[in-house]
């Protein structure tokens, strides 16, 4: 791993410049992997063809491939990865818990349960053929988002109550997240039990986590929610910085810690619920992306938030490339890929000790 001693700067301006460079580098990586992801596929396009098509100078075939198939997938990866990573980053800050993320606190499973209820019980989804990429598509996105948010916020409220009023330690809060996840998985199983075969297959497929099922309307909803969440989180970046020093110090520096904690968790929970309701559960991105970037930009949320969001998009773009090519033409569920990446990282953080950040 990277040695802490490597980061030595003579001046503060130099240190800030370095952080900007990290962000520019991440943007460049993000653009590179996006173009790569758009160009790679069963009908290969060169990166120059992709670039031409994106600026409106491509032929009909490449336009159809780029705008109808590849671009929605890439934009979904960018938006979903960004939202999951920055939400995880904020959850880790306000809960003072390095293991916090939507997947470890039971928020994703809560949202997934809510969305499953909306799709099956309230008929907000339409089933296609089970084997197709669009085994289920959402016909009433607002109802799905609302139910997903209800599930996500339920977990959030329990977690907030336990960490704030019962003052449970970081590990105990994660155990509570495990319990909540189990409960919601149980709930989803029960719904499937009473559903017919096609619905069961559809929901199982739907919970895998897939970037290819979103349409432009859903992408617009996700992007809007993501943009609002990003602005809200950036507005609070100094509050998160101050909260790194502990609750008493933060209060003494003028931060209403309770309000920041509750509103930030609610916004993070809403944003991740929207992602989960459109792309299914994508585990661990919210956990690993902020931790990777803390090594480079420290715990300064002015830079950590955008850097985490960018690294989340890169992780999802890379995972998606991996999912598409490891056993091509079969596309593996991206949720499984990120879990394979995230679980060792989770163990690493546990091994390092959750108290040390």
């Amino acid at each position: 791993m990277f040695k802490r001693k490597q980061l030595k700067f003579k001046t503060y301006e130099g240190y800030i410049r370095y952080k900007y460079l990290v962000i520019i580098f991440l943007i460049a990586l993000c653009v590179f992997f996006s173009l790569l992801s758009i160009s790679w596929g069963s009908s290969n396009l060169s990166i120059s063809e992709v670039a031409k098509t994106l600026v409106g100078q491509g032929d009909k075939r490449s336009e159809s491939i780029v705008f109808k198939i590849r671009l929605p997938r890439v934009v979904t990866a960018i938006v979903a990865g960004g939202i999951l990573a920055m939400s995880g980053c904020v959850m880790q800050s306000v809960l003072r818990n390095p293991l916090a993320s939507d997947s470890t606190l039971g928020i994703s499973h809560g949202a997934s349960f809510g969305a499953a209820v909306a799709i099956i019980a309230f008929g907000a989804g339409v089933q296609g053929t089970v084997t197709s990429a669009n085994a289920i598509s959402v016909k009433n996105p607002s109802l799905v988002v609302l139910c997903a948010f209800m599930g996500g916020i339920f977990s959030t409220l329990i977690i907030l109550g336990l960490s704030r009023f019962k003052r449970l330690g970081p590990e105990s809060v994660i155990l509570a997240g495990v319990a909540l996840s189990s409960m919601f998985i149980g709930g989803t199983t029960l719904i499937q039990y009473f559903a017919d075969d096609v619905q069961v297959a559809a929901v199982v497929f739907w919970t895998f986590g897939d970037l290819g099922r979103t349409n432009w309307t859903e992408i617009k909803i996700m992007s809007t929610v993501g943009a609002i969440a990003f602005i809200y989180f950036m507005y609070n970046r100094w509050n998160y910085n101050v909260m790194e020093s502990g609750v008493s110090t933060a209060k003494s520096l003028g931060v209403n810690t309770t309000r920041v904690m509750i509103t930030s968790m609610t916004v993070a929970s809403l944003a991740t619920s929207v992602v989960v309701s459109f792309v299914g559960i994508i585990s661990f991105v919210g956990l690993i992306a902020p931790h990777m970037l803390r090594k480079f930009v420290g715990n300064d949320y002015r830079f950590l938030l955008p850097a985490s969001a960018l690294s989340g998009t890169i992780i999802l773009l890379l995972s998606d490339l991996f999912a598409r090519y490891i056993v091509a033409p079969v596309i593996l569920p991206i949720g499984a890929i990120t879990s394979f990446l995230g679980a060792p990282m989770f163990l690493y953080i546990l091994f390092k000790g959750v108290a040390k950040r």
Binding site: R4, L7, K8, F9, K10, T11, Y12, Y15, R96, W238, N239, N241, V242, E244, S245, G246, S248, T249, K251, S252, L253, G254, V255, N256, R294, G298, N299, D300, R357
Partner: protein, 253 residues
Amino acid sequence: MINVRDISFSYDDKLILDNISFDIEQNHCIAVLGNNGAGKSTLIKCLNRINKPQNGYVLMGEDNLFDLHRNELAKRVGYVAQKNELSRMTVFDSILLGRKPYIKWEAQESDFEIVESVIKTLNLTDFKMRFIDELSGGEFQKVMLARALAQQPKLLLLDEPTSNLDPKNQYEALKLVKTISKEQNIAVAIVIHDLNLALRYCDRFLFLKDSKIYSYGDIESMTTECIKNVYGMPSKIVEFDGVKMVIPFPDDK
């Protein structure tokens, strides 16, 4: 002048502070003394509303501090906690957080200038780009003090600032606090256990016992009888080289 009036605070129906009233002169350091659990830390946390007292108020000039918005309060009252969480942050960034109450969207040039000036005052220039989780206890405590000073407070609250320091650093830290208090006209309240440190660097001594003020006064108020009644421990007070000193004298010999 800061006037603390009728502060009462209970936690889970247990009365911790009962109608506490006292005054602090600008540029005076007061020591808040008493047994473990006497409510010393709770008292100073009540003064800047980290703990919300059920009763009472604090006047700074004509302003009731409890009527101010939390951000405005933070511009007048600085606080250094007993336990500060370590984070991956440079010394400069950490002190810059003291400007948080003044920052609207982004730190301005004036904020950086104030941070630089505090760094210079506290002789932190050599390690301003080091990370705070790599500092020694004494250096870290100085950084926490610097952060509070960057708030440009009129009242500084220090909760056991010397508890993790070696004797040399304990004396240096309090000497620094006293110098800054006099130079910058800041009132300081320090929760402290070491009576000799308090005697050397504080102007007034507030003893808490059974949720109330047992005594509050200048150096003459620190008597063997007071120490016996507050701490339940016999002691002797001697003067050495013109400095008053407390020698604990438990009756086990």
